[in-house]
């Protein structure tokens, strides 16, 4: 994994979050983000996001972080 690659993924998911911020409450927004990532991201991108989230996911938008956690628990 390279730093810039991870930066890009964080930027991507945060952007998804901000663009769907009016989809409902935080949970609904997180559902929407998780669904989007599930549908469009590659296996390795999802893995990288999972690892990053497990390490704290500092740069993630709150709704994006919630989404990433949902994805992790689905995968488990």
């Amino acid at each position: 994994m390279s730093q810039s690659e991870m930066d890009r993924l964080v930027q991507m998911i945060n952007q998804i979050a901000i663009n769907n911020i009016s989809a409902g409450d935080e949970n609904a927004v997180a559902e929407m983000i998780a669904g989007h990532v599930q549908k469009f991201w590659s296996r390795r991108m999802k893995q990288m996001l999972g690892e990053y989230t497990e390490q704290g996911g500092e740069e993630l938008h709150p709704a994006a972080k919630l989404a990433a956690e949902k994805l992790l628990s689905q995968a488990a």
Partner: protein, 956 residues
């Protein structure tokens, strides 16, 4: 082909669309025709051919030559049949002694002022004047050539593609009418009166210096050799022709490739083509010379590293080398370490095969297409709201529109033939609203009725469309009945609450968009109350960080006003390249199998697995930008790129170059050594549209046949190369003709179920969905229900989020990019034709205010810097944009326009934000560092190519 008329015949006047029939008798033959049909056309439909000169069936009749005179029982004189409408009970005589004499006299007058060099004239064999002289039996010319005449009138050879030889002109004004009625440019007039009258371009200028856009309509309309293609003057008349489809833009015009053996003499727009009805633009009509250009790659080549010269090898060796490298890399770095890119310029069949090779042969879903960088938000946005990733109308539908809203598109340059059709409708009185940062030519349409320009700031589309929708909702302009019956209720009420909020009002958004609130209100009212209102949009909508949101915003607006599901309305993405629609349909995206079926859908996947005989990965693969990132990270190591130039067309060039350099194996299949090929290890010669069979799908979902007119220059059609590569990799593919590939597509893609080459032969073209419910295709979509959930359309919440690419103190201007008529996309083809006469470099347009501040004058060299890079272009001071906005095209690689574009992209699809980059501009004296490196690398790679050719020649 099944046609209600013969597209190869000229019926003299246009068809009448009336449903009422009238019955008359012509030369004793009874015939029924729609009311409003001319006597001339009625006769032609009964196969009675009345002589004509000034009439032709794509122009309104004019009645100037009188050679079409007939006699009608009970009427005095000899009326012109082209201007006389057929009436019930009429009895018409088209041939008798009196008429014959009259016609001979008219003909004699014409011929007496016409050079009699028929045998050496380029139109010999294809001249209506000659034909008519024969038809009327002209035997002598009594007037002689001694009097005043036009025989030594000068020739105008300024246009690179056609010559105007005034000495042969009979002043029938067909050219003048073609330029106004068909093309809508009004470049030609008849100057002077009587004997002195002559055809003039512009203000008595050369054709090249006039407003003429070289569409060729006048050349085609001219019945004599006055306006004649230079290729015909040079090569003589063609001897056979093949109907095929233009390979440039998403209009998908049909052409007759007129041939001499395997050489194209000229491309003539085909009247039977449903997308163009016999019209064309300068690209499809004239710019085909690239196909035989000396730069074409004629033999496969390989090399171990990109710092080495190329080595010409046999097909077998090149394919074997490529397959071995791919297998080695996968063995070492894993199944997902390789991928490929399909082309929106290649055929549906070729695109289908490339994604099949990747999914089945490579065993992963790392497939993407250049539609990623143009219309991927269309796919996403329309699927979310309307349920299908495609435009809703036919092109002809615009003729029923009362209001046309054009957003971020420039049809007269980028989709010229459709631009002409739209202009025709605007001349008839439809209102026009243009939302674009730049003043586009459509706003200057001659004889335009009511029009408005909303010159919004780049990057504020969503704010604008939300404000329009806000007005519709809060002023009670919604179509309540449509919403209740056709739209999903929950989503609608959520959206209604969202959009009614004061923060979306035009007054609130004025500061963001820069457009006066009153103008937005007026535009919303016009759109909502026009009757039939249609939206057309282009890359100015999609190529933004909110591209997908904007597409959904457009769909919301159309739904709220009930402007979906019939003629004259709809949501219409204008696609850039010829087969963008097709490449998306064919499963090029990493998450979707052909027909937009998600890879995670076990039922769809199961069907493909059964036919392909392999297991397909259920996880999406990498998108182009993610491939680049993974390449730089060392995880992604090999790529097969068919017919795309990602090094030039993708944003942030330096990042792309870094990624391409990092690859262990790059296989490029292309007709030229393009920018991407400079980083390749295997170069496989591609074939042009003239050299292969297949289909393209245009922006109105129309599947059109591409027919081979000459053998591929390097021996193989593109699909054959993919087949061989697949076989060499150990995944067997076995097709003997693209029709078999289409049969496989039809068997796996529900919306293509009834498509076959046989049916295309019968129908001419088919618009998908084409299945049991719509056996001959679907011109208008969503007439009864939407292919989504319970058949109801979905309003989507469209929050405006400002792009992070904002002007700042360091980068105070916003750069936006676009296209011009004569060049196409990255220009690889058009730059290798005489279209260079119109546009031989990319320039930066700067508003006078910004120019003055920086002391910039026309022609100055300007350094343009963004946070991504720096390049140098020449200046043009222009008022087409607002102050603070600069504009350029990217048709020339050394311009490096994409060196400055950033890797900002659409949140949903990663479509790059080409349309907004914050930049600074200043006067400079030399090219940028990147341009110098580009130049050096270009020279080096060209020499590698030459060395390969020299070595191959020596070996022979």
């Amino acid at each position: 082909m099944l046609q209600h008329f013969d597209p190869n015949k000229d019926y003299g006047t246009p068809a009448s669309l009336s449903e009422k029939l009238v019955t008359l008798e012509i030369d004793g033959v009874e015939i029924s025709v729609p009311e409003g049909t001319s006597v001339m056309r009625a006769a032609a439909l009964a196969d009675i051919n009345i002589p004509k000169l000034c009439a032709t069936d794509n122009l309104e009749s004019f009645g100037s030559c009188r050679i079409c005179a007939v006699q009608i029982e009970g009427r005095r004189g000899t009326p012109a049949s082209c201007t006389t409408p057929a009436e019930a009970g009429m009895k018409v005589t088209t041939q008798n002694e009196k008429l014959a004499k009259l016609r001979r006299n008219i003909m004699e007058l014409y011929i007496s002022d016409h050079p009699l060099d028929c045998l050496t004239c380029p139109a010999n064999g294809d001249c209506e004047l000659q034909d008519m002289a024969g038809a009327v039996g002209l035997r002598e010319v009594r007037y002689g050539f001694d009097g005043e005449n036009h025989l030594d009138a000068p020739k105008d050879t300024s246009n690179p593609y056609f010559t105007f030889d005034a000495s042969k002109c009979i002043v029938c004004s067909r050219c003048v009418r073609a330029c106004s009625e068909v093309q809508g440019t009004f470049a030609l007039t008849i100057d002077g009166r009587g004997f002195d009258s002559k055809v003039a371009a512009g203000q008595n200028e050369d054709f090249l210096d006039s407003e003429c856009v070289s569409c060729g309509a006048c050349v085609q309309a001219c019945p004599t050799a006055t306006l004649m293609e230079n290729s015909v003057i040079e090569m003589g008349q063609p001897e056979h022709s093949v109907v095929t489809t233009c390979a440039y833009c998403g209009v998908g015009c049909s052409f007759k490739a007129e041939m001499k053996g395997d050489q194209v003499v000229r491309m003539v727009p085909y009247k039977g083509g449903e997308a163009n009805h016999g019209h064309s633009c300068v690209k499809g009509r004239f710019a085909f010379g690239y196909a035989t250009h000396k730069d074409r790659i004629r033999a496969p080549m390989i090399r171990d590293s990109i710092d080495q010269p190329w080595k010409e090898v046999s097909w077998e060796e090149a394919i074997g080398f490529a397959a071995r490298r791919l297998k080695e890399i996968q063995a070492e770095h894993g199944r997902e370490s390789i991928g490929g890119i399909t082309s929106s310029r290649c055929t549906n069949e070729e695109t289908y095969l490339v994604q099949k090779l990747i999914r089945a042969g490579f065993g992963n879903n790392n497939t993407d297409t250049c539609a990623r960088v143009c219309h991927s938000p269309t796919g996403y946005g329309l699927k979310q709201t309307l349920g299908e990733s495609a435009g809703t109308q036919t092109f002809d539908s615009v003729m029923q529109s009362d209001c046309v809203l054009v957003i971020g598109a420039n049809p007269t340059d980028a989709h010229p033939v459709f631009g002409s059709l739209m202009r025709r409708r605007l001349r008839e009185g439809a209102s026009l609203i243009v939302a674009d940062p730049r003043h586009i030519d459509l706003l200057d349409t001659p004889h335009l009725n009511d029009s408005m320009h909303l010159p919004l700031r780049p990057g504020t589309n969503v704010a604008l469309v939300n404000a329009l929708a806000h007005v519709v909702v809060t002023e009670g302009l919604e179509d309540k009945e449509f919403i209740a019956s056709r739209c999903e209720g929950d989503a609608y009420s959520k959206w209604r609450d969202f959009i009614s909020d004061e923060r979306h009002s035009p007054e609130h958004m004025e500061a963001v968009t820069g457009v006066a609130a009153a103008d937005i209100r007026q535009a919303a009212r016009t759109y909502a109350t026009a009757g039939n209102a249609a939206i057309y949009y282009g890359l100015g909508v999609t190529e933004h960080s909110q591209g997908s949101t904007m597409v959904m915003g457009i769909a919301n607006l159309a739904l709220a006003t009930g402007n979906i599901g019939r003629e004259g309305v709809g949501v219409n993405p204008l696609r850039g390249q010829n087969n963008v629609q097709g490449s998306c349909d064919m499963g090029s995206f990493p998450h979707e199998l052909p027909g937009y079926q998600h890879v995670a859908d076990p039922v769809a996947r199961g069907r493909f697995e059964a036919v392909w005989g392999v297991e397909i990965d259920h996880e999406p693969g990498l998108r182009i930008p993610n491939m680049f990132d993974a390449a730089i990270a060392g995880q992604f190591r090999a790529m097969y790129v068919q017919g795309e130039d990602i090094a030039q067309s993708d944003p942030n060039t330096q990042h792309v170059e870094q990624a391409l350099r990092a690859l262990d194996c790059l296989i490029v299949q292309d007709i030229f050594l393009n920018e991407t090929a400079k980083f390749a290890h295997v170069l496989l010669p591609g074939s042009t549209f003239l050299e292969k069979n297949g289909t393209f799908t245009n922006a109105e979902r129309r599947i059109n046949r591409v027919r081979k007119v000459m053998p591929p220059i390097a021996g193989k059609e593109d699909w054959e190369v993919t087949v061989e590569l697949s076989n060499a990799l150990g995944y067997p593919m076995n097709y003997s003709h693209p029709s078999e590939i289409m049969d496989e597509i039809a068997s796996l893609t529900p919306s293509f179920k009834n498509v076959s080459y046989e049916k295309l032969e019968q129908e001419g073209s088919l618009q998908w969905p084409c299945n049991d419910e719509h056996p001959v295709g679907s011109p208008i979509m969503h007439v009864e229900n939407f292919p989504i959930g319970d058949g109801k359309a979905h309003f989507a919440i469209t929050e405006f989020v400002a792009t992070t690419e904002r002007s700042s103190r360091r980068y105070p201007l916003l750069l936006t990019t676009g296209r011009i008529l004569s060049q196409y996309n990255v220009g690889a083809q058009t730059r290798r034709t005489d279209n260079q006469a119109w546009h031989d470099e990319d320039i930066l347009e700067v508003h006078p205010h910004d120019a003055e501040e920086r002391g910039i004058k026309d022609g100055d060299w300007l350094g343009i810097s963004s946070r991504a890079g720096h390049t140098v272009l020449r200046a043009l001071v222009s008022e087409r944009m607002q102050p603070g906005v600069v504009y350029t095209t990217f048709h020339h690689p050394h311009s490096g326009a994409n060196v400055i574009t950033t890797d900002n992209s659409d949140w949903a699809t990663n479509c790059p934000e080409y349309k907004v980059t914050a930049v600074q501009v200043e006067k400079v004296t030399q090219p940028s560092e990147w341009q110098k490196n580009f130049h050096d690398n270009h020279e080096r790679q060209q020499s590698f190519l030459k060395e390969a050719a020299a070595a191959a020649a020596e070996a022979q």
